[in-house]
């Protein structure tokens, strides 16, 4: 019998609940740590980004309308999916050259991070919302609403954990996400897409793109439908993003590439990450004398 032919996977991006190639048809060869060819990764364009934003917009109102408890269940389910396929995710991280022990820790931390935010979905409102004391016959209260479509720019290090740490707080409060994965280690985001597809997260809530960062950053910054940018960027990128984002009055929360961030630490998660991506609405309700 002839030896079996190898069946290799075509990596595709997870956008709008479907697996897409770039509309441009372009790909970038990805090499593993030993320098051998591993796969062709889609090199997404600004049109792919535009399509991803449309997908996010379509699913946005439905996701925000889910009960907080249900959003928590779904994010927990996503964690379950990654946990069950952690061996595959560890391999995906090793493609980028991570030693097995570190890859294992990163996958475990990623699962824990999702569990962390799954718990927050029905609790952040109690801490961020408020009944305000006012000296007039009004019942005055502040509640939060999701910001909308959030553009996530993942850093080069911790290609899975950092990506998920940026996505999770956004979707916790009902935002939708269009994320650009690490340019040097995009493969974990491809694997994450496959796990998102089997979680109960509605298609379009999280959209993952791979491609050249420099090509896509200007569109992330100028696309008026993207309401916030969250991620990691260097000094030049931060300046360019802030300038271009001003036109459409986006929220911009960028960590600095030149500083080190411990994505594994407890300080990389919590209420303030959620607060960065919500809008506060204050209501004055008249009350009788």
């Amino acid at each position: 019998m002839n030896p079996r032919l190898p069946i290799t996977k075509t990596p595709k991006c997870y956008v709008g609940g479907a697996f897409i190639r770039s509309e441009s048809g372009r790909v970038t060869p990805l090499h593993d740590a030993s320098g051998a060819f591993f796969a062709n990764i889609p090199q997404c364009t600004r049109k792919d980004l535009r399509n991803a934003v449309e997908a996010a917009a379509k699913s946005g109102s439905g996701w925000a309308k889910r009960s907080a408890y249900n959003r928590g269940q779904i994010i927990y389910r996503l964690a379950e999916m990654i946990e069950a396929r952690s061996a595959e995710m560890i391999e995906a991280l090793q493609v980028g050259g991570q030693p097995s022990a570190r890859a294992k820790t990163e996958v475990a931390a990623t699962v824990d991070r999702l569990i962390h935010y799954a718990g927050w979905t029905d609790k952040y409102e109690q801490l961020l919302g408020n009944v305000n004391p006012v000296s007039s016959p009004h019942f005055n209260f502040t509640v939060t609403e999701p910001t909308g479509i959030v553009g996530v720019l993942a850093p080069e290090d911790a290609p899975l954990l950092a990506l998920v740490s940026l996505i999770a707080p956004a979707i916790t409060s009902g935002n939708t996400v269009v994320a650009l994965a690490s340019t040097s280690q995009p493969y974990p985001s491809i694997a994450l897409g496959e796990m998102l597809a089997t979680s109960d997260l509605p298609g379009g809530v999280v959209n993952l793109l791979t491609g050249f960062r420099a090509e896509l950053l200007p569109t992330f910054a100028t696309h008026a439908h993207i309401r916030a940018i969250s991620g990691v960027a260097n000094a030049d990128e931060r300046k360019a993003i802030k300038l271009a984002a001003a036109d459409s009055v986006k929220r911009v929360h960028l960590l600095k590439t030149e500083e080190t961030h411990d994505w594994f630490a407890d300080s990389a998660q919590g209420l303030y990450e959620i607060r960065d991506l919500v809008e506060f609405k204050t209501t004055w309700h008249p009350i009788g004398a």
Binding site: A57, T222, H223, A224, S248
Partner: protein, 311 residues
């Protein structure tokens, strides 16, 4: 199908010819591959705006909603250079409200009539509806054909009814809705197109759909009707206009339909006297793309006023 209906269809197909369905599908698939950029794209987008019949056909329509729709048709968006749409399209009860708001502008008032969308009312009632809409000031009437009669092969009944509506229209333009989704085949669409065209006046329209059924205007049925118009024009010299309606929601789709017009009927049909889009959400996507071409940035849909959600 009864034997007599069968025979009637056979005679008609013998006269006007049938459609090569595979050929049509192949042809229209090519329209989606044209690359229209920059100046020609902007030209196409603006042309499409002038061709929109801005439509609201809902049970919940009010004079207020029609007023804002008219305003939107006259001046689609502030701050960018865009023309008015061709017309607003409303139910007969809303014609007099619409007429008041578009007075003195180039925007025309179109009204669906003849028991839209089913057409299942006595002819007397349907004609009365047309006369009342015309009396209220409708510049254009969108009628539905009697699909039941068509499918049972009673072609002279279909034509007779259209003829009477033409008469009831007076000087108003008539658009004949074939409701392609209920005609089943491309052959039938071509046949119904010919039946309508044979009794229409020059520059009256044939129209694909009501927008009230599951299947609407597609590049395929648009192409079959455009080719019917072309063949009829070569045969008789009478130019018939065309209006696809329903399901055209994006600027990209609109450009593909315009490509079909350009490559099938030519420049003579690339104006709003000869070609229209029946749509409600299309206009905002056109505006969004025009603004994108101007500013270079992708726009958020909520930057543009929403006047109509139906269709």
């Amino acid at each position: 199908m009864s034997t007599s209906a069968h025979a009637a269809f056979r005679r008609l197909f013998h006269e006007i010819g049938t459609v090569d369905a595979v050929g049509v599908e192949e042809r229209v698939a090519k329209f989606a591959t044209r690359s229209i950029k920059k100046k020609s794209k902007l030209f196409g987008l603006k042309l499409a705006v002038t061709m929109v019949d801005l439509t609201t056909l809902e049970g919940k329509d009010t004079p207020g909603k029609v007023a804002s729709l008219c305003q939107k048709a006259i001046a689609p968006h502030e701050g960018i250079d865009v023309p008015s749409t061709a017309a607003v399209c409303v139910y007969p009860a809303m014609v007099k409200h619409a007429k008041k708001h578009v007075a003195g502008t180039s925007v025309r008032v179109a009204s669906v009539a003849t028991a839209f969308p089913s057409g299942q009312a006595p002819l007397k009632t349907r004609l009365a509806e047309v006369r009342s809409a015309v009396a209220d000031g409708a510049d254009e009437i969108d009628m539905v054909i009697n699909r039941g009669a068509f499918l049972s092969g009673e072609f002279s009944l279909v034509q007779d009814e259209i003829r009477q509506v033409v008469e009831a229209c007076g000087s108003s333009t008539l658009k004949v809705i074939l409701e392609t989704s209920e005609l089943e085949t491309y052959d039938n669409i071509r046949a119904a197109s010919f039946l309508a065209m044979q009794v229409l006046r020059p520059n009256d329209f044939i129209k694909t759909s009501t927008g009230k059924t599951s299947a609407n205007a597609t590049l395929g049925n648009n192409q079959v009707m455009l080719e019917a118009i072309r063949d009829f024009y070569f045969e008789t010299g009478i130019p018939i206009a065309m209006k696809p309606a329903g399901g055209i929601r994006t600027a990209k789709q609109a450009l593909q339909f315009l490509i079909a017009v350009k490559e099938t009927l030519g420049d003579e049909w690339l104006n709003n006297q000869r070609y229209r889009f029946g749509a409600s959400t299309l206009l905002n996507d056109l505006l969004r793309q025009i603004e994108k071409e101007r500013s270079g940035n992708y726009q958020a849909p909520y930057y543009f006023s929403e006047a109509a959600e139906s269709y």
